[in-house]
């Protein structure tokens, strides 16, 4: 098609769209929703950053306080005037009081676009030698886990709302020509109707996508700073979202190629949107929960308890005999707690923690095993719904995918082991159990905050290519159909 024809079509489309009041109104509405979603996302990001700032300040303050208290005890000839369980020179006490450190999952800038799993997964833990504690959702009985989490964010607008706008934008590209009678004059021009329609859909796609990124890019840069532009995540995200739009434009082209009425086109496209955008992902979620049910917290606690009981039944006698029955650890019977008892109690905690950790691992394996099975099923099925695929990809690119939260959780587990390796020898040795110094306070392991935004498991180029092939196939089907109909 010569350049002059493309210019004619561009100008024509722009004028037609600009003068379509319904479309302009709807476009403005969706634009407002898009801006709102960007603002909400960036607000959540900023809120998280503020929380992390407070956590960091609290950590520094806690170490300073610990060191001050240690210095006071040292200055008083290792005499602590208060409650013995608060004496910071006891390694066990410090491990319990000021020793626990925060582990933080540093938010990735693109998190402002996709809430993903960050609504239900913690982004920071307080790590004790005996547990990693997170402060949200901890009191809930069920494990609040959903593979597809929806909130009013950019991803929601892109995945669920914009296809509707695309449908309004494209459902009658051909049928309106027939219905208003301009079809006759188009047919007497020397352009192929199939190519003309493809061109018009292409122009509308270009306008829609171009306008979309022209809005999103600068607004996002304004809200969260321009650093995200330098990440590969952003450009993959641009690619996938643009391809998602292309998918819906291609489907509209294909539906138009059947030369049905505008009403039938609109209904078909809406049905397609309901099916691919809502029905399939929800049915898949239900199916996944049936096939791989997520165990509740009650089940997990029972599992833990059973594992501990089993241990004591089989191998716990030694511990009971050596540690629990030792005269140094008879705290319950003692009227005055002696330093030796603090030491003994520390040893009990250390020994029994090993058993508890083992039991927790059994329960966690059960939980995470199910989630991993769900994830594997999603990877197998994600191509049947572009909405599902995009949700998976977007949350991975934004650093809010379950994979990334899981990786963070695993790193925190490792960090807890590091804490244990630091505190246990000091707690369980008669030489060091009450010699915790300011140097030790400085040496307490700290979790290096990290951004979890890698997406290696996605095989992203392959996924993009397969997806692009699907779009090309739909376009080809529509084009061939129109050529055939034109003959």
């Amino acid at each position: 098609m010569p350049v002059s024809i493309s210019r004619v079509l561009w100008r024509h489309e722009l004028t037609l769209l600009y003068r379509n009041r319904v479309l302009v109104t709807l476009f403005s509405l969706i634009l407002a929703l898009l801006l709102a979603s960007l603002w909400i996302g960036s607000s959540l990001l900023r809120q998280q950053q503020r929380t992390i700032g407070r956590i960091r300040a609290h950590g520094v303050e806690q170490t300073d306080s610990l060191k001050t208290r240690i210095r006071r005890v040292e200055a008083a000839g290792m005499r602590y005037p208060g409650f013995i369980w608060d004496d910071p020179t006891f390694a066990y006490n410090t491990a319990r009081n000021e020793g626990p450190q925060y582990a933080v999952k540093q938010p990735f800038a693109l998190q402002a676009l996709v809430t993903g799993q960050s609504e239900v997964q913690p982004f920071y833990y307080k790590v004790y030698i005996n547990k990693k504690q997170y402060l949200v959702h901890e009191g809930e009985i069920d494990n609040g886990f959903l593979q597809f989490v929806g909130t009013f964010d950019f991803a929601f607008v892109v995945i669920y709302l914009l296809p509707l706008l695309i449908i309004v934008f494209t459902y009658n590209v051909l049928s309106s020509e027939k219905e208003q009678g301009t079809w006759v004059l188009l047919k007497t021009s020397n352009q192929s109707i199939a190519r003309l329609l493809l061109y018009r859909i292409g122009i509308r796609y270009g306008l829609f996508t171009g306008f979309f990124w022209l809005i999103v890019g600068p607004v996002l840069a304004l809200l969260i700073g321009p650093a995200f532009l330098a990440t590969s995540n952003w450009w993959w995200l641009v690619g996938f979202v643009s391809l998602y739009f292309a998918f819906w434009f291609a489907v509209a082209f294909w539906v138009n190629s059947f030369s049905l009425s505008s009403n039938v086109n609109a209904m078909t496209l809406i049905f397609g949107w309901l099916l691919l955008g809502l029905l399939v992902p929800n049915l898949l979620q239900i199916g996944l929960n049936r096939a791989y049910p997520i165990p509740s917290r009650i089940t997990l606690s029972t599992d833990e308890r059973n594992a501990i009981n089993n241990y004591f039944k089989k191998d716990g006698q030694l511990l009971t005999k050596d540690v629990f029955s030792s005269p140094r650890t008879q705290i319950r019977q003692a009227s005055v707690v002696t330093p030796g008892m603090v030491y003994g109690y520390g040893v009990i905690v250390y020994k029994s923690q090993e058993i508890k950790d083992q039991a927790t691992r059994v329960a966690e394996r059960r939980l995470y095993g199910q989630i991993e099975r769900q994830q594997a099923a999603i990877r197998r099925w994600q191509l049947i719904s572009p909405a599902l695929l995009l949700q998976e990809v977007l949350s991975a690119l934004a650093g809010t995918h379950w994979h990334q939260f899981n990786q963070f959780s695993l790193d925190v587990d490792q960090f807890r082991l590091q804490q244990q390796r630091f505190f246990y020898p000091k707690m369980a040795s008669e030489q060091t159990y009450r010699t915790f110094t300011t140097a030790d306070a400085d040496a307490i392991p700290r979790f290096a905050p990290q951004v979890y935004a890698s997406y290696d498991w996605l095989h992203i180029s392959q996924t993009l290519l397969v997806y692009a092939a699907v779009v090309a196939a739909v376009l080809t089907l529509g084009y061939r159909r129109m050529l055939y109909a034109g003959r």
Binding site: V8, H12, L185
Partner: protein
């Protein structure tokens, strides 16, 4: 310029057009008369490439429509009974678009000149077509034909519903185009217009071209008698 050779069109068992042989020279205005369903519009639709012929050939400037529809569409313009345009665009924008689609890019002044030739008032150029009368839209249709530099013009009941003044204006424009060498095939029920405007007249009945005459050779009343005698033939 326009030639039909044994042109036949069947829709199932119904023969809409039966072995039509027709030749229209450059600059000639040929009027097809006939009652509804006589095959007039079918003939035009085959020439325009809207529907394929069952058998026979339709040629425009020596090019067979069914073989190279792309080339023949370059040569033709079509003005149906109601010229439907984009209602939210102005007359000038519609003209620019349709002529642009055919590969012609004109300045505003050139486009305005086409509409002036077609008889559209200059003050209507920048008004949206949604507010145009039927006659005004016909004029934009003619302007499109002019801008496309069409060699053949197909008109299907073009003056139906036009007031006498608009109808007369329309005839004048077609005559002017004929003088420029544009061939015209017009399907109409208007015997008087056919007599006054056409160089030749064909009367169709049930898909067959029953009568053909030069308009100069018959009076209006003779044409009327011939028409009625033809269309009242038993099936």
């Amino acid at each position: 310029m326009l030639k039909a050779e044994k042109l036949t069109k069947r829709f199932g068992d119904h023969t809409a057009l039966d072995n039509l042989d027709l030749e229209i020279r450059a600059g000639e205005i040929y009027c097809l008369l006939g009652s509804n369903g006589a095959g007039k519009s079918t003939t035009i639709n085959i020439f325009l490439g809207f529907i394929p012929a069952t058998s026979g050939r339709a040629l425009i400037d020596g090019v067979e429509v069914s073989v190279n529809n792309h080339a023949t569409r370059n040569l033709v313009a079509y003005i149906p009974e109601i010229v439907n345009l984009y209602p939210t665009l102005t007359g000038l924008e519609n003209l620019a678009f349709f002529s642009g689609l055919s590969g012609f890019t004109y300045s505003r002044a050139e486009l305005a000149a086409f509409t002036q030739t077609a008889g559209l008032q200059p003050e209507a150029l920048d008004k949206r077509v949604g507010s145009y009368s039927k006659g005004m839209r016909q004029k934009v249709g003619i302007a499109i034909a002019l801008a496309k530099q069409a060699k053949a013009l197909f008109l299907d009941e073009p003056t139906s519903g036009l007031d006498p003044h608009a109808s007369n204006e329309f005839s004048q424009i077609i005559t002017r185009l004929s003088g420029q060498g544009v061939s015209t095939l017009m399907a109409t029920h208007d015997l008087l217009m056919a007599k006054n405007l056409g160089h030749r007249i064909g009367i169709m009945h049930q898909g067959v071209l029953e009568q053909e005459l030069r308009s100069a050779d018959a009076s209006y009343s003779a044409l009327t008698d011939l028409y009625l005698a033809t269309v009242n033939q038993p099936a």
